[in-house]
């Protein structure tokens, strides 16, 4: 809040009671600062406690210090896979939600089936099926005389991983998008319809631009979760954080050391992402002000 907001617009000169307002503001700020400091102390204590507990493990902390570089290189892969996947997932979720809310039985059927089957099965098994199973279908398709399509179905490890993560998160996010769209008041639809808009025009121009402000913080949450789930693509030999930590650990049987390192890196990623998310959320909250 800035001092300007205390002045009453349109009134000439300063508010005679401005001092009172300034003092109130200062008190509020001081209380806020003390609160933040207290929370910081609690965090500090918890970190100290956790460190003490972890030092009781049979680990060699210096090993982490000497070998973190190899695992650190996986951070970019983890971020890259998650970013690309969350973008595709967002698109899928948008279409999924539109399908679920559509009056078209085909669209409703397809999106309902998609959400049901994907949410009903574990991500790891989806990864296996896409990586191992899809190429076999591709072979059949090729045999039927569609060589291009068949080739398309044989994805490499990275593509398979991104497809699996996108499909999986797309299904969960379909529900988020649906709720976001439904949260827009009925009156908005009615006034769009009264203007003669088609359903699609109404979605594109009126509903989605408003819904997206509700949805974006949730996409942030999903992105944070996905960073951790992306560890599963390591089974296909993608060298992200978990793969590197796990395989490196095997060299010298330093599992706990490498796992703690990986956990730490994920945590830092989460903290950074949460910070970005909270900034986005703040921007969304000051919506429509001009």
């Amino acid at each position: 809040m800035s001092v300007e907001t205390l002045r009453r617009p349109g009134l000439p000169g300063a508010d005679p009671d401005l001092r009172m307002g300034l003092e109130l503001l200062a008190t509020q700020r001081r209380a806020q600062l003390i609160q933040t400091a207290k929370i910081g102390v609690v965090w500090g204590a918890l970190v100290a406690f956790l460190t003490t507990v972890l030092l009781q493990l049979r680990i060699e902390p210096s090993y982490i210090g000497e070998h973190y570089g190899f695992v650190l290189e996986g951070v970019l892969t983890t971020i890259g896979v998650s970013l690309v996947s969350i973008m595709f997932a967002t698109l899928l979720a948008l279409f999924g939600a539109l399908g679920r809310l559509s009056r078209n039985s085909m669209a409703q059927g397809i999106s309902g089936f998609y959400v049901s089957i994907i949410r009903g099965t574990p991500l790891l098994i989806q990864i296996y099926i896409i990586y191992l199973g899809l190429p076999q279908i591709g072979q059949q398709v090729r045999a039927l005389g569609f060589p291009e399509l068949g080739r398309w179905l044989t994805l490499d490890a990275l593509q398979s991983g991104i497809l699996a993560l996108s499909l999986n998160y797309g299904a969960y996010m379909t529900e988020i998008f649906r709720a976001g769209i439904q949260s827009i008041s009925h009156g908005q639809r009615e006034s769009a319809e009264a203007l003669g808009m088609s359903r699609w025009q109404m979605m594109r121009r009126i509903i989605l631009p408003q819904a997206i402000r509700v949805i974006i913080p949730d996409i942030g949450n999903q992105f944070i979760a996905m960073q951790k789930d992306s560890a599963l693509v390591s089974v296909m030999g993608i060298w992200e954080i978990t793969y590197r930590a796990n395989r490196f650990a095997r060299k010298d049987s330093k599992f706990m050391e490498m796992f703690l390192l990986a956990a730490g890196l994920y945590w830092i990623l989460t903290i950074v992402s949460s910070w970005i998310q909270s900034r986005l959320e703040r921007r969304m909250a000051q919506a429509y002000e001009r």
């Binding site: 070998h67 296996y128 191992l132 080739r151 490499d156 030999g237 590197r244 490196f248 095997r250 060299k251």
Partner: protein, 314 residues
């Protein structure tokens, strides 16, 4: 890469090779076809390895990708790994006249076959088993895992494995060692002599727990353990009071494998790798590598193995 261009290039390479061969060597072998031709035209051999198993395959620290490599961006170069399997793979590629490139899928994704042409060969110390032979071709094995009995150091009553008939023997449950004791073990290309009768089988989740129980004392919980020779020797080196009893009772043969469902004909490639493997046995390359990584000769039995008896290329 554009697939049509790709096959044109490979076609050109094959035809070019054939022309050269026809011109200089009238008695040269026929031009390679199928998967082998692809590999030669591409100039890279794509090998799967799971760097989770030292000393066969493990990671090397640091940014070590080879500078002037032909490997694709999602493949890794030999310099990023070290281990017995890696050296063998690099040697095979060298003798084919191509560069070895590596992909690193989970071991479980390798042994099931159906690789969808993603990689050409597994050089991963894979045991030849009848189940795997249904989906994979095996080359001449490059080494073996001998299975041997271990008893407590204090024991004086047993002098050879057949003395263990009717005794308490520990094994990892569901492993080849258990099947040896209950006489259901079948290893392709090998006739097994079940010399231990009616052992009382004690199953463990891992070999190591069995060996630790044996170390509690002679006959306290177990009279003997049947396990891989390197495993037993490893725990003895770590100080467990055990000793090996007699010679190995059977061998597991570890070979390179190729996907049977590859879209190109893989048989000439498998034959070629088998030839190379036999050369590497004959000229002592494999023996040297075995000495380097295991400190002993694990290759002789593999050199004797008759891969033709598997009947997989008929």
């Amino acid at each position: 890469m554009n697939p049509r261009k790709w096959s044109l290039t490979s076609l050109a390479a094959v035809m070019g090779g054939a022309l050269v061969l026809a011109a200089c060597a009238p008695a040269a072998p026929p031009a390679p076809t199928g998967l082998l031709a692809d590999i030669l035209a591409r100039g890279t051999l794509v090998v799967s390895t799971d760097p989770a198993y030292p000393p066969q395959s493990e990671l090397v620290e640091g940014p070590t990708r080879a500078a002037n490599t032909q490997c694709a961006s999602d493949q890794h170069t030999a310099t990023e790994f070290t281990g017995f399997d890696i050296d063998v793979a690099v040697e095979i590629a060298k003798r084919l006249g191509v560069e070895a490139c590596f992909v690193t899928p989970d071991w479980t994704l390798i042994i099931g076959g159906s690789w969808a042409d993603r990689w050409d060969i597994s050089v991963g110390s894979m045991t030849i088993t009848p189940e795997r032979m249904e989906v994979l071709y095996f080359t001449q094995p490059y080494y073996t895992t001998p299975a041997a009995f271990f008893v407590h150091q204090d024991n004086t009553t047993f002098s050879q494995p057949s003395d263990l008939s009717g005794k308490k023997v520990g094994v990892c449950a569901g492993c080849t060692y258990e099947y040896f004791l209950d006489k259901t073990l079948s290893i392709p290309g090998e006739t097994i002599n079940f010399i231990v009768e009616d052992a009382s089988i004690n199953g463990y989740d891992t070999d190591t727990s069995a060996l630790q129980d044996l170390a509690l004392g002679d006959g306290v919980r177990l009279d003997a353990v049947l396990t891989a020779l390197p495993t037993g020797q490893g725990v003895i080196a770590d100080g467990l009071p055990l000793k090996q009893l007699g010679d190995p009772v059977f061998f597991e043969y570890l070979a390179a494998a190729v996907d049977k469902s590859h879209s190109k004909d893989a048989t000439s490639f498998v034959r070629r790798v088998t030839e190379i493997m036999q050369q590497m046995h004959a000229d002592g390359t494999l023996l040297r590598l075995s000495q380097q990584y295991y400190g002993e000769d694990l290759t002789s039995a593999a050199a004797q193995f008759d891969v033709g008896a598997l009947g997989q290329l008929s």
